[in-house]
Symmetry: C2
Subunit: 173 residues, 2 copies
């Protein structure tokens, strides 16, 4: 299975706090091994670390002040998710057939021109404005279907139910 | 094609402003015809209306102070998206075969018990904490694949590109 990382750029403290947290948790739940966040709030990192602590896995969070360097130094295929890109469904098989590690870039609002230039692929999930969280989920799922069903062997695990909330806490024996 | 609506509950002004906006834009882009939002900020509604105005379609926003009544009065199959529910992939075919309209419920943080009780299905997209935006995108896409490629015939439309941002503005001839 290919390895996948996510780079979150353009994070604006306060304004994007919860959206960036959702980006990170989606990256983790859908099988990414790491997220880079440009200039994150400490509370964003704390929220994500709390989830890892409770629900397991070895997802990593790397704060960065130089997202361009992350891209330049990466050996992965770089896929920038943008409503302006080429349709995912036209490129999905080509990207799968590369069998390469992937670095997804997701921005908030307008991204700087270098993102379009340095990306190997500028890819859209539809050409309507919606959400980088939805785009990341769909792209990760199309490239690696149902990865969101992975087991994280955490202290807490949900017991799926048709009717109510149920969790197992392994620390309580 | 079945019709789809979304009910966003538990919206907390300020804290959820941008996440709720993303929920609504995802609902629109993936083919829902309407969103109900409990106690929305006026700025959330304004952001969504701006997108509809520019990018087209007849997506509707209904503010509500009584989300339970929306559910009680609905003739649709009610699908509550929750990390505690049964796996989407186990129920997807059954739900498709109903050929019924769907009302998705997505909450912020903890939802009240009536949501689990009144829902026809409590469905999870994986059992890890991630994002109601990601869950809605995956659920809508699995029930109606690539609906995000719909054309909205708006004033603005993106011209998909491998390399840069490009838009057509039909009002400029």
């Amino acid at each position: 299975m290919f390895s996948c990382e996510v780079l979150r750029i353009g994070h604006r403290p306060e304004r994007d706090k919860r959206v960036t947290t959702h980006v990170a948790l989606t990256a983790r739940a859908f099988g990414a091994r790491r997220i880079y966040i440009s200039n994150p709030d400490s509370r964003v990192i704390k929220s994500i670390e709390d989830v890892i602590d409770k629900f397991g896995g070895d997802f990593e969070i790397f704060p960065t002040t130089n997202p361009k360097e992350i891209v330049n130094k990466s050996d992965s295929k770089v896929i920038h998710l943008t409503m302006y890109g080429l349709p995912l469904d036209d490129k999905c098989e080509e990207i799968k057939n590369l069998s390469k590690d992937i670095l997804f870039i997701v921005g908030a609002e307008k991204v700087p021109p270098w993102v379009f230039e340095l990306a190997d692929y500028n890819i859209s999930v539809g050409n309507q404005p919606h959400s980088e969280i939805a785009a990341l989920a769909i792209a990760m799922n199309n490239l690696h279907p149902t990865s969101y069903n992975s087991d994280f062997s955490g202290r807490l695990s949900v017991i799926p139910s048709a009717t109510h909330r149920d969790m197992r806490d392994s620390s309580k024996g």
